[in-house]
């Protein structure tokens, strides 16, 4: 752990925590204090190293003293070195034989072996063999029966074998089993469980952002997923502690490649987050990252120890530069820059990397937990957090936008409904106004003017009783006409014309004229606009009155019927008499002029055929079919103008 078990001596009873980095200390300090509070354990600092048979360098006399080393110990072995067998003797003194079970704890002991106390076997940790490679990353603990311990000097013997690769033994400690177990549990958590935690974080990150990338093709998601995958690979390589010998180079290669990949991806991500997407630099980073694994592969791992010293710091440098760019961007306004959390995590990662490198080159204690174990997952989380935060915010915004849209749609709907109702209301008002105007004009044109002119005649005293009765009768006739036109629901012109016929027939008969009414070709329903009903009635009445007054005819024939079909369908009325005809100077008479004006107003054709002593035929043709709104509109305007005109004249 962070105990100063480096090359400098220190007080075993109270090892002070070294203040290496804040990030790391903060994480471990608590556990450390808990562990050191009851520090009744006994660290062993020295070991005597001797090769034993069947090793080639084994001395003839096994009891001869070996080489003395101080812990922590690191001994790299070149590739191709055969399996070596070694005996490590560690001595410690006891003031008294303990009465409880003791235990021995091996920290950062990459090799297994057979362990004995005072020549008595206490247990075996799986060790290297011809077919099996071990690379323990977890601590090892074996219990010691107190009966094996002696007062005074005791000897712990570790018989071990090792092959090629880097080997370490950082620390050996003996003590009461309870205290040793506390230390063991703590180390186990930080060196083994933490790797699992990191792997889990990386796996989840990879899954989430991999899925995001598949769905959204977002570059940052892809980079993050890639970094997480690299980290996951590294964790997997670290978690495989026992493997067949044939697999060892590949696992090591995977470990190196994973580190390189993670760092390179991280650097590119940081650059991209600083909106610095430069293809050339990115390829350079990738190239440099690929260099390490490539050299490893090319040299059959022989280059690995040198790479750790020379190449790996370069990766740190790259990440450092990328972090520096991000920090610089942060100070600039208006430029995209990484989230502060990302930058903090990057700085922590850099520190962790430097610390780990310091351990590798021996500047620092060996027995500390690899700081990258924590900094890596932290980095992944720091990268993921802003993305997930942004994602959640986007979802919130989408939700808000949806709600707002719904509200707006509802408001618009209500507005439309209101507008529609207003429109319908105004339409109704307009129709009513048109109706009122029609009635008003009918009264004005017909009964009103008739009564007015009658009044003048009566006031002049120029009217006899009979004439007076005649005038009133005509007025009533006109009113009837108007009422018939109004009562004619669905513009039932036929019935209204029929009523007119019934009113006129007795008068014609009294004058010796026979009226024939031929309505056989008249359909049940006539699709005429209400506006045209009264003018037509008036024209027919006028024609019949003219015949009655002036024609001296014997017979009058009215023919009603429709001509043509569809758009060109028309309603035809012929009023024919066999009288004396209309004299030339009378064709422009007032009655005829009235008829023509009325026909013109409703867009109907009025033809007059007259011949002396042959008779007169009035032919009125009105178009049926879909009412043309534009002409109707014009007509209304015309009518209005006519009313105004007439009002001025009077």
């Amino acid at each position: 752990m962070t105990h100063c078990l480096n090359r400098r001596p220190c007080i075993p009873a109270r090892p002070s925590p070294s203040l290496r980095t804040l990030g790391r200390a903060a994480l471990i300090a608590l556990a450390l204090h808990a562990a050191t509070a009851a520090a009744a354990t006994l660290p062993i600092k020295k070991l005597e190293w001797s090769y034993v048979a069947p090793d080639a360098q084994a001395q003839a006399d096994p009891s001869a003293p070996g080489t003395n080393f101080e812990l922590p110990l690191r001994w790299p072995t070149e590739e191709g070195t055969p399996l070596r067998t070694v005996a490590m003797r560690l001595r410690f003194g006891l003031p008294a034989v303990p009465d409880r079970t003791w235990a021995v704890l091996l920290s950062h002991a990459s090799e297994g072996g057979r362990l004995s106390i005072n020549g008595k076997y206490i247990g075996t940790i799986p060790e290297e063999s011809a077919w099996r490679h071990v690379a323990w990353r977890r601590p090892q603990m074996l219990s010691i029966d107190p009966s094996l311990l002696l007062e005074g000097d005791n000897e712990l013997l570790i018989e071990s074998r090792f092959g090629p690769g880097a080997h370490t033994l950082a620390r050996v400690e003996v003590g009461p089993q309870g205290e040793i177990w506390n230390l063991y549990a703590l180390q186990f958590f930080f060196e083994h469980t933490a790797t699992w935690v990191g792997a889990t974080v990386a796996l989840i990150t990879a899954l989430i952002f991999g899925a995001l990338w598949l769905e959204r093709r977002e570059a940052i998601s892809r980079l993050l997923a890639l970094a997480a995958l690299f980290w996951l690979t590294g964790c997997a390589a670290a978690l495989v502690e026992i493997m067949p010998q044939g697999l060892r180079p590949w696992v090591q290669l995977a470990s190196i490649a994973a580190t390189a990949g993670f760092m390179a991806t991280l650097a590119i991500t940081l650059m991209r987050l600083s909106s610095l997407a430069r293809r050339r630099e990115e390829w350079l980073i990738c190239g440099y990252a690929a260099l390490g694994p490539a050299l490893c592969l090319a040299s059959s791992l022989r280059a690995e120890p040198y790479l750790q010293l020379a190449w790996q710091p370069g990766l740190l440098l790259i990440v450092g530069v990328a972090t520096g760019v991000g920090l610089y961007r942060r100070t600039q306004a208006g430029v995209a820059s990484p989230h502060p959390l990302v930058l903090v995590a990057a700085v922590i990662l850099l520190c962790a990397g430097l610390l780990d490198y310091a351990s590798v080159i021996g500047l620092n204690s060996l027995d500390g937990v690899p700081a990258m174990n924590f900094a890596g997952p932290l980095m992944l989380l720091a990268l993921a957090a802003p993305l997930i935060d942004g994602f959640i915010k986007t979802m919130h915004q989408a939700e808000l936008a949806r709600v707002e849209l719904e509200t707006r749609v509802r408001e618009r709907e209500q507005l439309l409904k209101r507008n529609f109702e207003r429109l319908r209301e105004s339409e109704r008002v307009k129709v009513e106004a048109q109706e009122r105007q029609r009635i008003m004009q009918d009264m004005h044109d017909g009964l009103g003017s008739q009564l007015m002119s009658s009044l003048m005649l009566v006031e002049r005293g120029a009217v006899s009783n009979d004439q007076f009765a005649q005038i009133l009768r005509e007025s009533i006739d006109d009113m009837r006409l108007a009422i018939d036109a109004l009562a004619a629901e669905d513009a039932d012109l036929a019935a209204a014309l029929g009523n007119l016929r019934f009113r006129m027939e007795p008068r014609l008969r009294a004058a010796g004229m026979e009226l024939t009414w031929d309505a056989r070709r008249l359909p049940e329903e006539l699709g005429l606009h209400p506006d045209v009903v009264l003018p037509i009635l008036r024209i027919v009445q006028e024609a019949l009155t003219n015949a009655l007054k002036h024609s001296r005819a014997r017979a009058v024939r009215v023919t009603l019927g429709t001509e043509g079909s569809g758009e060109s369908q028309s309603f035809d009325i012929r009023i024919a008499d066999n009288g004396r005809g209309i004299a030339g100077e009378r064709v422009g008479g007032r009655g005829l002029l009235n008829m023509r004006n009325r026909a013109q107003k409703i867009g109907a054709q009025l033809k007059l055929e007259t011949a002396p002593n042959v008779g007169t035929t009035v032919h009125l043709r009105t178009r049926i079919g879909p009412a043309n709104p534009s002409t109707r509109g014009q007509q209304t305007v015309l009518n209005t103008q006519a009313v105004i005109e007439r009002a001025r004249q009077q």
């Binding site: 009533i476 009422i483 018939d484 009562a487 019935a495 029929g498 009523n499 016929r501 024939t516 309505a519």
Partner: protein, 229 residues
């Protein structure tokens, strides 16, 4: 006072018109005025007291509508012809009075000759009808056909609707021609029957309409529990 004389009562609240109608009838030798009434109460007394052939009645009486009187007379004295005195543009009331049992109507401003010929026509078994009234009658029958059966559209209900139309095809045709303004003579020519037959058809139509509406009223009354069965 000859037995052939047509005896007539007048129910009219406006004295001017009452006098006018009375004069027209008095000046016609074949007709006799049996009495006049100015309101419903007097009219009821007159109806109970006198025997008469024709009743001229105004619908708008000061103490109520004349429709009740029409229904009363048409049920108690089926031989009496009831003639409604009306102003123009009042076709809806004409149709209701026909449904109550009236067989003719006359406009208030008709000439004396019109009044006389109308009464003659009625007694001869015909009924006068104007195109607008004919159209209104047609419409009333159509709406009644659509009326009770309108709630269900199943086949039996539709045949019941056909039964609801009390008019024969010929009668409907005559009404349609009348609505187009054709005279009895012209209709007779078109259909190959005498004008007299045409007017008889019209009277039958009126009677059917009255009977039918009465039956309907009875049915409705029994539905409402007003009549004991």
């Amino acid at each position: 006072m000859s037995a052939d004389q047509i005896s007539i009562i007048i129910v009219e609240d406006e004295p001017e018109f009452r006098r006018r109608f009375a004069q027209i009838i008095d000046s016609e030798p074949t007709m006799r005025l049996a009495g006049v009434a100015a309101n419903k109460r007097e009219a009821q007394a007159l109806i109970d007291r006198e025997d008469f052939d024709v009743m001229l009645i105004d619908l708008g009486l000061p103490d109520g509508t004349g429709i009740d009187l029409i229904r009363n007379v048409s049920q108690r004295k089926p031989d009496v012809d009831i003639m409604v005195v009306t102003v123009f543009g009042d076709e809806q009331h004409v149709v209701s009075s026909i449904e109550a049992g009236a067989t003719g109507y006359i406009l208030k401003d008709s000439t004396p000759a019109d009044v006389i010929s109308c009464i003659r026509l009625l007694r001869a078994g015909g009924s006068p009808v104007s195109p607008v009234v004919a159209r209104s009658v047609l419409r009333a029958i159509r709406s009644r056909m659509g009326g009770p059966g309108a709630t269900s559209t199943s086949a039996p209900a539709r045949s019941a609707n056909a039964e609801n139309n009390p008019l024969s095809a010929r009668e409907t045709e005559i009404l349609q021609l009348l609505a187009k303004g054709m005279s009895f003579n012209e209709i007779g020519e078109i259909l190959g029957i005498s004008p007299h037959t045409v007017t008889a058809h019209i009277k039958k139509i009126y009677r059917k309409l009255a009977v039918h509406s009465r039956g309907e009223a009875v049915y409705e009354a029994s539905q409402m529990g007003l009549l004991k069965t």
